[in-house]
Amino acid sequence: MTLSTAGRRARTAALAVGLALLAAGTAWGQDDHFPFGPFRMYATADDPNGRVLSTYLQAVDEDGAVVPRVGEREIGLRRAEYEGQLSRVVERPEVLGELAAVFSRRHPDRPRWVEVSVVQTAHVLVDGVPTDERTEVLATWTAP
């Protein structure tokens, strides 16, 4: 089965537009331009003598138990998601309280969270080998 001239033209034009958007996204775009943004998975260059930051939420429930690494199982958000909006969370710790409410909504049978903190671990690299690691608390929300 052959295509009509119009069918070929429409397909070729659509492909050209798609390729142009993809090229522009790769050259100048950001993740914001999904699905034509740059394929930037692991595209950053980390200094072999620098620090690797790893941020996560840590919660304490009303029984005093610590939930060390909060993720999608607890609040339906991946670590990379709240990490990608870190400034938003650190500047407004009440967002952490909203996340505690989300946990209770998703897990009504489990003890409520009374404290949620943003914890950041910095792994210190020397010639690409992790040596020391330091952890600091960036923000904390406590249940009123």
Binding site: T12, D32, P48, S54, E72, E81, E98
Partner: protein, 294 residues
């Protein structure tokens, strides 16, 4: 160029791709990326819409909306996998899956594992009726297959461009500790072993770029060489999964477009007695044409 773009492919390949890709949707939604559905309780304060979402004035997805899109997407994808009403159902799957992606990617993290899959969902409806035993060569099928294979290859090649752009030049990226960072942040048993041999991770960075730049050969190779090359790329993705528990499943499903799926079943006449009712028009250009009306 035009001849290459529209090189005819048997309609059966489109039929198989529809079955495979549309049935992958429920697997994706329910099993391999369940975190998208988990955005049903995400707080609006963390909603960070993409450009497309802002242009559409897409509000923060409400719980009921996420559930509605999920149910519709699952139902329509399964219906589309049957091969019936391929244009209508295909367009509906694309629209719903795209909305699913807006729900997925609008909370601060955008994934890059499904560009080819989105392209496949976009082009599958551009081919009309297609059945699994129909070996009729079709230019529309050829174009659709070419778009998917181009998208797979572009994902690799353009990610090298991104490394150059975001890594302060490709040489700088190659000499960086990006894989150490990847493994540190996503610890797995294999990854922990790799941390003790940083030079191996460094070599892997060179290997990755070589592999990504070589991806266009997938558009040229045929037969056994093509299968070997595809296997090599598959092994790379499995190795990545072992080290950092990330696998580009929707991308990998699109590898099927490279394969002669039309050979899976023997050819049979379109009017074969075991063609289901309503499928009697298989092989004709339009679905729903009653037998004998042409």
């Amino acid at each position: 160029m035009s001849r290459w773009l529209f090189a005819p492919v048997a309609l059966a390949r489109i039929a198989w791709l529809r079955t495979l890709l549309y049935l992958f949707v429920p697997l994706d939604v329910l099993v391999t990326t369940p975190w998208v559905a988990a955005h049903d309780t995400a707080p609006a304060s963390l909603y960070s819409p993409l450009l497309v979402g802002r242009l559409l004035e897409h509000p923060a997805p409400a719980t009921w909306w996420v559930h509605l899109v999920q149910v519709l997407l699952l139902a329509v994808a399964v219906a589309a996998a049957s091969g019936r009403a391929p244009r209508l159902l295909g367009v509906a799957v694309f629209g719903l899956y795209f909305e699913w992606m807006l729900i997925a990617m609008s909370y601060g993290k955008v994934d890059h594992d499904r560009f080819a899959f989105l392209v496949a969902l976009a082009v599958l409806p551009t081919v009309g009726a297609a059945w699994h035993r129909d070996r009729t060569p079709s230019e529309a099928a050829g174009f659709a297959v070419r778009c998917v294979t181009l998208a797979v290859v572009a994902t690799y090649v353009l990610s090298v461009a991104a490394k150059h752009r975001f890594g302060g030049g490709l040489p700088n990226w190659l000499e960086s500790a990006v894989f150490v960072r990847a493994v540190l942040r996503r610890a797995t048993p294999v990854g922990d072993l790799l941390l003790d041999v940083p030079w191996l991770l460094q070599v892997a960075q060179y290997g990755l770029v070589a592999m990504e730049l070589a991806a266009p050969v997938l558009l040229v190779l045929t037969g056994r060489r093509l299968y070997l090359a595809l296997t090599a790329y598959l092994l790379f993705h499995l190795g990545t999964y072992a080290a950092i528990a990330i696998v580009f499943l929707p991308h990998l499903v699109c590898f099927a477009a490279f394969l002669p799926l039309e050979r899976l079943l023997g050819e049979r006449q379109a009017t074969s007695e075991d063609a289901a009712p309503g499928r009697a028009a298989a092989g004709s250009e339009q679905a729903g044409v009653p037998p004998g009306s042409r």
